[in-house]
Symmetry: C2
Subunit: 516 residues, 2 copies
């Protein structure tokens, strides 16, 4: 492993900057440890140890917080800034980007009292356990007190972090720096209308048969096939591991070196395993692709969840649900499940995995409905944080909002308000980044197709190397160096907007549904 101090810039030999880096390395190690404690809790921890684990996470979070927010850290940042200025470092240099990231992290930490951070860490670990039970038994009441405290602590967090217009902005900024609720509203309002229109068009068109996706599929064989997909994408075992879990997620325990994925594998819906795995594979490639010289520093992170999500969604949908992708992989899948798929053609399979349908479950939604699911969550969490909606009223508000968008009500809370882990994880402001990811992924693909004219040919031959290299060079390696808006502008010469995404959906589904 290359350590950061030496490799970032050989001419950089000033004391304060180096001392700062050493401190940032320690802070990053404590983050790695928390990531492991969390991953282990999800994958390995015996049931009886969950309370002990919450306490351990609380302890490490508190130590990290103390270190990040200490006066010494502030003084080191100030001294290092003065050094860089005196030496005339370029604003585009890694060193200046490092300082900016360090300052941002310091400021976000210093606003928060240690007790709040510790309580939040402990609560989240407990709440996630309870949420699992609540979801299994569709019992919102079980989860309600935890969510109530999480909302309250998040509102407190928002006030400590500070905001110009809306308390939600402060929370959103953690996941999508520089973005605001107002900006999201101005992107989401027209997007919502265009998506409803698109869905209307295609859902009244000729019906697509996807019943063969809902036969009984061996979970062991699905797991093996998903491992094959990851291999094909280039997610290699030497830095990753893959497990089956009740929800799909990627935990980057140490960026560049230790990235762990799960796929959600269910016996009766083949899409779940396949697309959750490809999705997480896209995240994993990003975490792995960050410049190793940034390891153990704030630059070895991601600038925004929207940008990260653009990678998982690019792989999951724009690549993973393309005809070219399955031209290569479908024969392998067919050979794995000859009883279920032996008589299904590639074209039928392709149409089935792209079927437009109303699902109550976000993770089962088609590409058009998906963003509508998110817009519902965005509106609800915004209301929770501004205090215009109470947690007690949340299930009813969910059901009503869902009906307005989809014309039906969820069967129960397990398939409604309890379906996602995010709020149990205290992650308010996270959901909208999924939509931003959709928008950015389509903007990037437009550019990739210009830069790699053979892209579709390559993919249909199972050759993902040119795509992976493009993503690595243009996106992954920068880690957290650039603002997402700036990076999108740098690559596509355009701000983030919904045009590319809506055009992509329109063209793809017009062809699939033969509607013009």
């Amino acid at each position: 492993m290359t350590t950061s101090t030496a490799s970032i810039n050989p001419r950089m030999r000033t004391t304060a900057y180096e001392a700062l880096l050493k401190r940032l390395n320690k802070i990053a190690d404590l983050q790695s440890v928390q990531n492991l404690l969390q991953w282990d809790q999800d994958i390995c921890l015996p049931d009886g140890a969950s309370q002990a684990r919450s306490i351990q996470i609380g302890t490490i979070a508190e130590m990290q917080h103390d270190l990040s927010s200490s006066n010494t850290t502030r003084l080191l940042i100030e001294a290092a800034e003065a050094e860089l200025q005196a030496e005339g470092f370029d604003n585009d240099s890694d060193e200046v980007a490092m300082l900016n990231a360090a300052r941002r992290d310091y400021q976000s930490k210093v606003c928060l009292p240690t007790e709040l951070v510790s309580r939040f860490g402990t609560l989240v670990a407990e709440a996630q356990e309870v949420w699992q039970q609540a979801r299994e038994s569709s019992n919102f009441a079980l989860f309600q007190p935890y969510l109530t405290e999480l909302v309250e602590l998040s509102r407190q967090k928002g006030r400590y972090l500070g905001f110009a217009e809306h308390p939600y902005d402060a929370l959103l900024d953690e996941y999508e720096p520089g973005m605001t609720a107002d900006e999201l509203r101005s992107i989401f309002a027209p997007l919502k209308q265009r998506l409803l229109d698109l869905r209307g068009t295609f859902s009244t068109a000729a019906k697509i048969d996807d019943s063969f996706l809902r036969l009984n599929y061996s979970t062991e064989k699905q797991f093996e096939f998903c491992k094959r997909l990851l291999e094909s994408m280039g997610v290699a075992n030497d830095y990753s591991r893959f497990d089956s879990h009740t929800s799909a997620f990627t935990t980057s325990i140490a960026n560049c070196f230790d990235v762990r994925l799960t796929g959600r594998i269910v016996p009766d819906y083949l899409n779940m395993a396949i697309f959750s795995t490809i999705h997480e594979g896209g995240h994993a490639l990003f975490d792995r692709g960050i410049n190793p010289a940034y390891a153990r520093t704030p630059l070895a992170e991601i600038h925004s969840m929207g940008l990260h999500e653009s990678q998982s969604r690019l792989w999951e949908n724009l690549i993973g649900r393309s005809l070219q992708f399955w031209t290569y992989h479908y024969p392998i899948l067919q050979a794995t499940f000859p009883d279920q798929l032996g008589k299904v053609t590639l074209e039928d399979f392709y149409r089935a995995i792209n079927k437009v349908q109303n699902s109550q479950i976000r993770l089962e939604a088609d590409e058009i409905s998906y963003s509508l699911h998110i817009i519902l969550r965005f509106e609800l969490e915004l209301a929770l944080i501004e205090g215009s909606l109470t947690v007690a009223d949340l299930p009813a508000a969910w059901n009503q909002g869902f009906e307005e968008l989809f014309g039906t009500r969820p069967e129960n809370d397990s398939k409604g308000v309890l379906q996602d882990v995010h709020w149990a994880g205290g992650a308010f402001g996270y959901f909208p980044t999924y939509v931003l990811g959709n928008l950015i992924s389509a903007q990037l693909l437009q550019q990739i197709k210009l830069d790699i004219p053979t892209l579709e040919q390559n993919i249909s031959e199972g050759d993902f190397q040119p795509l992976r290299q493009w993503l690595s060079e243009n996106v992954h390696r920068f880690g957290r160096k650039y603002q997402t808006k700036d990076l999108v502008m740098r690559i596509t010469k355009s701000p983030i907007d919904a045009d590319a995404f809506c055009t992509y959906l329109d063209e793809k589904f017009s062809r699939i549904y033969q509607v013009h």
Copy 2:
């Protein structure tokens, strides 16, 4: 989970003691985290992340060391001691035991410079990876530089820790407090002679056929059977997990709550999986059985490895290799492997698993030879630490010493000096505790049979509850409260000696070999 502060003693409400406990809790959490980092490295970590992991372990070890050895900790210990004295606490109270443990830990930490601890932690993580490769390729040269540095750092450690007679005593004291090389020599010299005599007697007796233990056994089915054994012993899933690994070990990530075992399962030697699992199960029951009021304190540990090992060996050998144990379990094993064992009688199986034979491998040794394997290691590590043997000369010394005891030389270093992980883990002074475990286990069993007259009957019916309860009440629950010597005296009214063990071996093997 009961936290310690409130539950230890309701009348204890003094400030310094409580502040000290809070600090000890934090130190214990950092130990839990290191245990997890290590366990994860063994079981889950992707290959490419091992260097990153070494650095993480080094960071946490350093933070823990700084906290443990800080002046504040010393001042809190002193203030708490003054408080307890003023309030007239009994020497047998938990509070006084807690203070003694805290002081001992502080003193052992304060002797060691932070850099040494950090370097040691990093080196051990690297050395274990390299040792695995070296063992696989029987290439001692690969491992030699790491072992050389480990010996050198251990000698340094010994000097910092301080000793009266022998630098080895300082290292031994970490695993077996109060024990010295001289005491061990005085126990081991006659033991060695008695074991050589016993082995001579039984190895020239009629040969026992154990070839059926070396047929091909499905590792999956072995794993399932081992899980069944753990269940039977009462090692429950709600606080433990069980994995298959290239070496068997127990990692107690958080005593009382999170104890993880591995079994070593090989396809061509059935004993390996069964007895490594029962052995680790014995360790797990101890870690689980510690009084939960001690959680996150120095009392939630074990006083000595010899005492801990007495539990694993009691289960593995005195219980797990008894006729009663297999009266209950052999029909289950036979049903699992009808092709291999269908025609083998219980009596033949019992004799086979107790066959006296010269193995080059410690983990395959019979109960008589086992302690001889350890005595060899003890003599060699003693010589390494006192500097009368160099690491470069170690393989030759191993082979010569082995020949003196067993009459043959190891086939290669992989089956000789490279077979054990301990030295790669920097654990000099650990091996002799295995022999102490053997001796104590036999002393305890003598007493258990007096206290539970129905013991053999219970075991042959698969009822381990009375045994488990006896161990829990007399041994486990005390954690680290008592000195091992004192606990053995308290239970058996006798000091630690080899009589019970040699008598047990003589009686058991005389019956098996029908020699009188």
